[in-house]
Symmetry: C2
Subunit: 326 residues, 2 copies
């Protein structure tokens, strides 16, 4: 890609998580040149985390053997509702933040323009541009990890609704009077298929005397990670199979609702659980999706597991940063 500006066009994408910060330096063609990762240390408060974000950006730039004056802009994804115009976090439950300004302090420390968005919005943008080459105008992203988040690209634009709160696919209710969700409501998709819900079901079964290799793999079930579920599946663990297939069914149901409602060209699944056991879930997901979608409405619709993995967020951050400097 030809540079129209004498200043090299590099962009940094940052994915701020509850436990870690990941930053990636991308060139103008969105090729990843270097990454850095540090812990978030959310308990130290917003100012400390802001400084850690800045440190992580500098580390990624250094990792690519570049200097900050070669970076045009930074795009940051945050796990919560974000006002992108003000560059403020409205509410980020995993960080314990309400009303935290990020854009201005980071701009001041780094000396480049910064844009801030919800992490799932950023991730779906990363998938649309980095993985799907920007072709589809309507993309729905569903990211399943500890919780479940989503991002919507509609009519070619990131859609965040009136209150910057759209895309909360994890809190789509799939069952009247279903299991309690962390958000306070009942029967949410996240409370039926997120990793926390999966752990809860496994613990309940184990308490009821059911056997599982997970108790051999892990000393403490509360430390369950998605990779442990993959190991258990590979060892033919019946309980894990059943719980994962249930989660897959609810995932298929959620995708059916999204297909019926939004009729996108592409629905993409990502997040830690999908990276670890998405291949094992896919058949049941597709079957349930088919059973609950309007006849014909899946024609021409692509359902895929994201290949970007951890890099969806940083790629999307770089896309936002590039949009900002155009």
């Amino acid at each position: 890609m030809a540079e129209t500006d004498s200043k090299p066009g590099c962009f940094v994408g940052v994915d701020l998580g509850g436990t870690k910060i990941l930053a990636g330096l991308f060139d103008s063609a969105l090729v990843l040149r270097g990454t850095a990762k540090i812990t978030t240390k959310a308990q130290r408060g917003p100012q400390a985390v802001t400084e850690r974000i800045v440190r992580c950006v500098r580390d990624a730039v250094d990792e690519a053997d570049l200097a900050m004056d070669q970076v045009r802009a930074v795009g940051l994804g945050v796990p919560g509702t974000v006002d992108p115009v003000l560059g403020q976090v409205i509410f980020a439950p995993n960080l314990g933040w309400r009303g935290v300004a990020l854009k201005q302090p980071i701009e001041k420390l780094l000396g480049v323009p910064v844009c801030v968005e919800n992490d799932c919005n950023v991730a779906v943008l990363g998938v649309q541009v980095g993985e799907l080459k920007g072709k589809p105008r309507n993309v729905v992203g569903v990211f399943i990890g500890t919780g479940i988040g989503g991002g919507l690209i509609l009519n070619g634009e990131l859609y965040s609704g009136a209150a910057h709160a759209a895309g909360e696919v994890g809190h789509m209710a799939l069952q009247m009077n279903g299991p309690q969700c962390g958000c306070g409501n009942k029967g949410c998709f996240e409370a039926l298929a997120g990793r926390t819900a999966i752990l809860q079901r496994i613990k309940t079964a184990v308490s009821g005397g059911e056997k599982t290799v997970l108790t051999e793999i892990l000393e403490d079930l509360d430390r369950l990670r998605s990779g442990d579920l993959r190991k258990a599946l590979r060892r033919g663990d019946k309980l894990t199979q059943r719980v994962i297939q249930d989660a897959a069914r609810y995932t298929g149901l959620a995708l059916a609702n999204l297909a019926n409602l939004l009729s996108p060209e592409v629905m993409v699944l990502g997040g830690g659980l999908i990276e670890a056991v998405g291949d094992e879930m896919l058949e049941v997901i597709l079957q349930t999706l088919k059973e609950h979608t309007m006849p014909g409405s899946l024609t021409g619709m692509e359902i895929r597991l994201s290949t970007l993995g951890d890099h969806a967020g940083i790629t999307g951050g770089a896309v936002l940063a590039r949009q900002l400097s155009q």
Copy 2:
């Protein structure tokens, strides 16, 4: 509103239904000047229905003491999936139509530009412009009658997705393995809260020996209309109360999903059932909505029963027609 063109700026909106056709003549300020209504006679086939649409348009114009040469354009809502670019009906189950061209034949017969859209898309446009004065950029419309349809205005534009099939709120699955829906799937919102579902529940209860004034009001329960439900509620009928409150709960759940997913400024309810018994449903709808929505995400969101009633469709048709001639 000043006319910038010497030709008077009148527009006709048409709502094509399974049993009747309604047309309205609107002036350039979208004030309704005359209406006409005739039966659809779908069994006579697409060509006959097309001629009846044309007759209904001419009748509405005549009703307003005007002539066709004072009409700039016609906007038509059709109960099915529509390709608005080609002006063709892709699939309209209630009419038994697949691949029926409407735009060109009507343009030929009337001599004015015609645009065709899905009826619920047209209705939500009617509400946004005619009732909400075009202010909100994100509006979700849910229309509950025999079935349940929806329309989405997102980022200020009508959203119909990749396959012109978006907005199928009635086929959002709210219950895994729920009651069978007419679309072939199970647990759809329509199969839980549409008038056909309500009738089914009443018939099952009556077969089981339950008493209801509906059997006094109607000779044949299969002829149940929304107005009969209103009469039964006013007479304190316990069965009707229970069934309507159940429908209200599922409506609240569906609205919660839409709020969590799309975070619009306004969610509007319309359609025959809502016109008849919406006031009686509203409290339960709002309570369930509140119970299933993310904390804070209802802040600033308006939930309303449409005041346009039957006129949402023809108003939206006129809005489309006006857009076409601008």
